[in-house]
């Protein structure tokens, strides 16, 4: 048996069915072997970055289900591996488990600046949870097993295995043995502490019972540990409202009476005001990112903080905790839900206070949604998302790209299905949506998947339409085309006196692009056509691209300016832009 055979045997053993990637000189032996085994479905991305997001989509959508699959991608050395980096860094920021296998130049020429040689381990080290370079065929199998363990336990993350070409082809030694069933990784320094300690739990329970204005934070960890339903039970048991981080969305239904929606920079007024007024924050599986906290020295000044988190290095990193519980969210919630000391409290004054905040902006936003068009007479993204939410009853899987439309999707889709929100958060990688939606669809083929992109992000991985075409991946692609990089434009409107530097963009004719990839296409310019187009997409078997001509002057509010505190929250729309009424923006004709 050779290294490449051992590699594929280990991947199969770990339940990997899909391999996303792109072949090339130093990974060819593995591809050759893969073709012989027929154990995997290989999905060729059109750019290695696409493969990383497909793998992420598979991991994100499946790891918390009954059929967990680790997203795996493969690429060749040098440029192939370098093209992976953005998606790998993205997975690292968002704690998404992923396995990356790269070919490397043969050991004999490593460090000679050989053709397509780059220091992949060196480049990947700061953006991976762990990196490996097996130098003998005997090491490959145990490396893959260890890599899988490291990627999927504790706080998940991407793990790289860089294998020199000669090691792929090398035969294992005659005395080689590997006990697959009995394998246990030997990692004396690996921090994995899933079970909560009793002492901090007791303090937390006392604190919760004493609190007058408590608030629960639901982070990505709730979804990753499949604890959405338990969190809901816990919140109902103690009657405490819930604010969500962006990645905490869809852990439990968005319209749950205790839900305040998303918090942070583009969070709801009620969530952010509640954070300011709370006397206790109970944070589950989150890392207090700056988009969540704003200015740290003003953040939740009057609140004690209970932080439940699997990664101890996140505890006390940005926000000082009163009680730190280093444990898995699910296991912690199991204890809390059953704890007889935790009691229900009506908290009438607290909820009354929150209900007042719920009123702020509510009418204005609803009026905008109902009108459906902005100052330029073109469509509002929030209206499209709202219609989508209603038509799908909030049950579908939503994969937004990065930007304004992402925040619209976060705010105006009513998530009813657990783990139905997939997007790039920490890294904020434009172009993630299209490839990630492919991975999500492969993970959950029975569910409907919507990829929502702006015209900027869509073009960043537009080449993956080729993958959609080749495998007839049934994803519904919604393109919110406003001819600008919308989020940056919004900042320019609010903070740069409307100087739109580097944000306007000439777009291609997306109808022709869709046609070239043999993908059905619709273009929507009128409010009345939104719902029929979405209905058509729902009926359509297979992929479809719908382009919506959107208003570039639309803003997502409220907004806490970058580096600002919650008191700086902008809740009123900027004045109508002078240019908005004068010239109607040109959009591509088809």
């Amino acid at each position: 048996m050779t290294g490449k055979e051992k590699l594929l045997a280990a991947l199969k053993e770990k339940g990997i069915k899909y391999i996303f990637g792109y072949t090339g000189g130093t990974i060819m032996p593995v591809f050759d072997e893969m073709d012989k085994t027929k154990d995997f479905q290989f999905i060729m991305s059109r750019h290695e970055q696409g493969a990383t997001f497909m793998a992420q989509g598979l991991s994100r959508a499946s790891l918390s289900t009954d059929n967990p699959q680790l997203g795996a991608c493969m690429a060749t050395s040098g440029p192939g591996a370098m093209n992976l980096t953005t998606g790998v860094a993205d997975a690292h920021m968002d704690s998404v488990p992923m396995l990356i296998v790269t070919g490397q130049v043969a050991t004999g020429v490593i460090a000679t600046d050989a053709f397509q040689e780059s220091d992949v381990v060196g480049v990947m080290m700061p953006i991976c949870k762990q990196t490996y370079m097996p130098l003998h065929a005997d090491e490959i199998e145990s490396t893959i097993h260890e890599a899988h363990y490291v990627a999927t336990t504790g706080r998940g993350g991407p793990v790289l295995v860089d294998i020199p070409k000669d090691v792929q082809n090398e035969s294992v030694s005659p005395q080689y043995r590997f006990d697959v069933k009995g394998y246990r990784p030997v990692l004396p320094g690996y921090l994995y502490h899933p079970t909560p300690d009793r002492e901090p739990l007791d303090r937390a329970i006392k604190m919760i019972n004493k609190s007058v204005r408590p608030l629960i934070f639901c982070g990505h960890g709730v979804i990753n540990s499949n604890a959405g339903k338990l969190l809901q039970q816990f919140a109902e048991k103690v009657n405490i409202p819930i604010a969500f981080t962006m990645h905490g969305l869809s852990a439990l239904p968005s319209d749950h009476p205790l839900s305040l929606g998303m918090m942070g920079m583009h969070g709801t007024v009620e969530a952010n005001k509640a954070v300011m007024e709370a006397d206790l924050l109970i944070a589950f599986g989150m890392r207090f990112d700056d988009r969540v906290t704003g200015k740290l020295n003003e953040y939740a000044a009057n609140a004690d903080v209970i932080h439940v988190e699997i990664d101890p290095s996140e505890i006390d990193k940005n926000v000082a905790t009163s009680v730190a519980i280093n444990a898995d969210v699910l296991r912690t919630l199991r204890v809390l839900v059953d704890d007889p000391l935790l009691t229900y409290k009506p908290r009438r004054r607290w909820f009354k206070q929150i209900d007042e905040h719920r009123k702020v902006m509510k009418k204005e936003l609803q009026a905008e949604i109902d009108t459906g068009v902005g100052d330029t007479g073109t469509l509002l993204m929030k209206t499209i998302v709202d219609r989508l939410s209603k038509l799908t009853k909030g049950k579908d899987l939503i994969v937004p790209d990065v930007g304004q439309h992402q925040m619209m999707a976060a705010r105006f889709y009513s998530y009813q299905t657990e783990n139905s929100w997939f997007s790039s958060g920490g890294a904020g990688t434009m172009g993630c949506s299209l490839p990630m939606a492919i991975g999500v669809k492969l993970a959950r083929p029975q569910e409907r998947v919507w990829s929502i992109s702006g015209d900027g992000g869509f073009q960043m991985n537009i080449q993956e339409l080729g993958t959609v075409m080749e495998h007839n991946i049934d994803i519904k692609m919604l393109l919110f085309n406003n001819g600008y990089l919308g989020m940056v434009r919004q900042w320019q409107t609010l903070f740069f006196d409307g100087r739109y530097s580097g944000t306007p963009m000439q777009n291609p004719d997306y109808g022709f692009i869709a046609q070239a990839y043999k993908i059905p296409y619709l273009k929507v310019e009128e409010v009345k056509d939104i719902a029929p187009a979405l209905k058509k997409a729902i009926k359509q078997k297979g992929p479809i691209l719908i382009e919506f001509v959107c208003d570039p002057t639309e803003v997502i509010l409220p907004m806490i300016p970058s580096g600002g505190g919650f008191n700086d929250m902008i809740v009123t729309r900027p004045p109508k832009e002078k240019s908005a009424s004068k010239k109607k923006r040109k959009v591509s004709k088809s």
């Binding site: 381990v121 060196g122 080290m125 700061p126 949870k129 762990q130 990196t131 370079m133 490291v150 990692l187 004396p188 320094g189 690996y190 921090l191 990664d311 101890p312 290095s313 505890i315 006390d316 990193k317 000082a320």
Partner: protein, 156 residues
């Protein structure tokens, strides 16, 4: 700024030192010295990091970030009062021998070599402060070249 020492034990695997130094750069820690040696147990290295930091929360973060590495088995801050911190230095000095004899008995140093009429190569060991005051007293203007090992530390 308070000087602190962190002692860490880690698996002797390729890339560990690289990870630690990248962490220091990435998180912009104010590191003074970093020494690595093998420990009593084969396959496990011992690393001592000294840094200037008043904020205990930041030091705790360094330790937590170090512990996060799969290869790091343990990391902790050493209490200055309850540990020995020592380093060694080799110094090439442009002084005559008589100038150095004045320091006999006060510092733990040894003349390794006499080069030419008034160039001496001296080895000195002790605490960082001892080495610093020795150099001050000898006269820093007389130093031609200096090699310091960085701090090795051990709990009492």
């Amino acid at each position: 700024m308070k000087r602190r020492a962190i002692l860490a034990f880690m698996l002797d695997r390729p890339g560990v030192l690289n990870k630690v130094s990248m962490l220091i750069r990435k998180k912009m820690y104010n590191v003074d010295t970093l020494t690595v040696c093998s420990s009593r147990v084969p396959g496990i290295s011992r690393m001592t990091i000294t840094l200037q930091e008043d904020d205990i929360a930041k030091v705790t973060q360094v330790i937590k970030q170090l512990e996060k590495f799969t290869e790091v088995i343990s990391a902790k801050e050493l209490d200055t009062q309850k540990s020995y911190w020592r380093e060694a230095a080799i110094v090439k000095l442009e002084v005559d021998r008589e100038h150095l004899t004045a320091f006999n008995g006060r510092y733990n140093f040894e003349i390794l070599e006499k080069k030419g009429k008034d160039v001496q190569i001296v080895q000195i060991a002790g605490s960082t402060v001892q080495i610093d005051t020795f150099l001050d007293e000898v006269g820093r203007e007389n130093i031609i070249e200096i090699a310091r090992t960085g701090v090795a530390a051990m709990e009492k």
